[in-house]
């Protein structure tokens, strides 16, 4: 038995296809990104080694830092929206008839492509015919905003569909976790006279802390690398007002053919995501893990 189950040839045969794919298409590329970041390169011609120049340029590039600030803002907004999602889930996980249907309805936007969502919200924000401004006009507001064309508003206008898109995803996760909280604990507290608010805050939340941590990591890393919706809606414009790290990297590489500099930004993004994950894990590390 043991001999059969440690047959090296079979193991290699089963593991290698997936392993090679991961190596060639994920792991070697991330190493190469760091390496290309040391080059001056237009993507077609020869590479020229320039040492850390691209990374130095990154530190002094105000447009890059502006993009990074926008990515960070998105991360902060995502964490704030987690609070809202959590409240909805707490309500949903109480004695609600049709909770299953509710969470499924909430999930629908998450299943659609970012392109379709972006195109749809571009119509919603349309200055004259969009639902948003037609609603504002109908309640008597005259100077309706230009939304995606207004440099002061555009970033926040894009955050709204992102929050809309992911709501169902996080509600689903929280809801599943809350359903796993043992009934006995909740009932015992109720008999002792705890209010629903106390039950939610003092009993359920601490018990799903592990899941909340996972969602914070997901939300922050997801925000830092966010791209699709922004790229389709504004391409980072107008005038860089909605530029994020990923869109700036894409522009540098595939619009301006600065493949070396684009690689440096891509490598920075990778390190940022890994470091942030590690920091959040450290910060939220338990002194005493709650078991249930």
């Amino acid at each position: 038995m043991n001999k059969v189950m440690s047959d090296k040839k079979v193991i290699a045969l089963y593991v290698l296809p997936a392993f090679l794919l991961m190596m060639v298409l994920v792991y070697i590329p991330i190493v190469l990104t760091g390496y290309y970041g040391l080059m001056r390169w237009d993507g077609i011609g020869a590479m020229e080694f320039i040492g850390l120049d691209n990374y130095k340029r990154l530190l002094n590039d105000s447009m890059f830092w502006r993009s990074a600030t926008h990515s960070l803002l998105l991360a902060i907004f995502s964490i704030l929206s987690l609070v809202g999602y959590l409240i909805i889930s707490l309500v949903l996980a109480g004695k609600i008839k049709g909770a299953d249907l509710f969470r499924k309805i909430y999930l629908i936007p998450m299943l659609l492509s970012s392109v379709a969502i972006a195109q749809l919200w571009m119509r919603i924000y349309h200055p004259t015919n969009g639902v948003m401004n037609r609603f504002l006009t109908s309640i008597g507001i005259e100077n309706t905003p230009l939304w995606l064309a207004d440099t002061n508003i555009v970033l926040y206008a894009i955050f709204i569909p992102i929050i809309w898109q992911y709501a169902g995803f996080y509600i689903l996760i929280y809801y599943a976790a809350l359903r796993n909280v043992p009934n006995e604990l909740v009932e015992a507290a109720r008999i002792d006279g705890a209010t629903p608010w106390q039950i939610g805050y003092k009993i359920k939340l601490p018990l799903i802390m592990g899941v909340i941590k996972v969602t914070i990591v997901l939300a922050v890393v997801g925000s830092l690398k966010y791209f699709d919706l922004i790229w389709v809606m504004t391409q980072g414009g107008p005038n860089g007002a909605s530029e994020v790290i990923a869109s700036y990297m894409y522009k540098q590489a595939f619009n301006s053919y600065n493949f070396g500099y684009g690689s440096a930004i891509g490598f920075f993004l990778l390190i940022l995501c890994l470091v942030v994950t590690w920091i959040i894990r450290k910060l939220t590390a338990d002194k005493e893990e709650v078991q249930y």
């Binding site: 794919l21 309500v91 509710f102 309805i105 659609l112 609603f135 809309w164 909740v186 690398k225 791209f227």
Partner: protein
């Protein structure tokens, strides 16, 4: 594996002493408020899509002059016929189907093989290899784009569907393995012991016994993969330039450009692109819910 929520919710009431479970008027009011709140959230999630469906059936006159949620006087199904026949939507649709299907099949088979080898077989590097796959979950796509672009150019796979299929497969392996792991750990060892005792080969054991046993979780991962691949944007946008290879997600993006002011046509195009996902959701919502939950939490 199925979640049974409604039932749990109702059984909660039984152990409560009678005096506490009686509802006062205030409690009932609070309950109504909660339902209004939840329905409000549902409306926000659904309304943009309802509006999309409505304007896909209108002509510009109606889009601009009728209230946004008014029904069209006469549904313009012609919008759908027009966008389907005028552009390459049919081609994009076909590309999306076969690229999605090929990647899903490859991912599920490769991931199952790896998961089997990691959870059932004994070898020294298994933990390390598993870790390597799991770190893949953290890696931003943009950090791989330029090297992949360069690699596919060098091996003549640029602007070729194979590049997309392989990339989708690689990037979906981590999440797929993660979902499969939980299920494989619960499979009883007696089955494989008995099979091996009877002289069954490992390949037979995997393909004839284990793979069929994991069918439910394989179906779940397949659906999750399908949704990810169907909606994927960056890779196709970067690696595919010929119209004939574009998927629906990227194809409609360019296609809509032509219809800048024709709202009905834009609406119809968007509806066509999201309809397969919506239909899949109506039929398979339990599996989708299960897949997304297990893919994100059981880490």
């Amino acid at each position: 594996m199925e979640f049974e929520n409604g039932k749990n919710g109702q059984s909660q009431t039984s152990p409560v002493p009678k005096g506490l479970s009686e509802k006062t008027g205030l409690q009932r009011l609070g309950k109504i408020f909660l339902y209004v709140f939840l329905i409000g959230v549902a409306v926000v999630q659904i309304l943009p899509l309802v509006w999309l469906f409505l304007f896909s059936l209108k002509n510009n006159q109606e889009v601009f002059n009728l209230p946004p949620l008014a029904l069209p006087q006469e549904p313009q199904w012609g919008n759908y016929v027009r966008v389907w026949t005028e552009g390459n939507i049919g081609q994009y649709f076909f590309n999306s189907v076969y690229i999605t299907a090929s990647s899903v099949i490859l991912t599920v088979i490769f991931a199952s093989l790896v998961t089997f080898a990691i959870t059932r077989m004994r070898w020294r590097l298994s933990k390390l290899v598993l870790g390597l796959f799991m770190v893949g979950l953290m890696i931003p796509v943009h950090s791989t784009l330029i090297p992949l672009f360069n690699f596919f150019t060098n091996v003549n796979l640029m602007d070729h569907p194979v590049a997309i299929i392989l990339t989708y497969t690689a990037f979906n392996l981590p999440i797929t393995i993660m979902i499969l792991l939980g299920f494989y750990y619960t499979l009883p060892r007696e089955i494989e012991e008995a099979a091996i005792m009877d002289g069954c080969s490992l390949h037979r054991l995997f393909f004839k016994i284990i793979l069929p046993m994991t069918a439910p979780v394989v179906a779940t991962t397949a659906i999750i993969n399908m949704i990810y691949n169907w909606n994927e944007y960056v890779f196709v946008n970067t690696f595919i330039s010929s119209d004939k290879y574009k998927t629906l997600t990227v194809g409609i993006q360019n296609f809509i450009g032509q219809y800048q002011t024709d709202w009905g046509a834009i609406g119809a195009t968007l509806m066509i692109s999201i309809l397969p996902i919506l239909i899949a959701f109506v039929i398979l919502s339990n599996r989708i819910v299960e897949g997304i939950t297990s893919g994100s939490v059981k880490g």
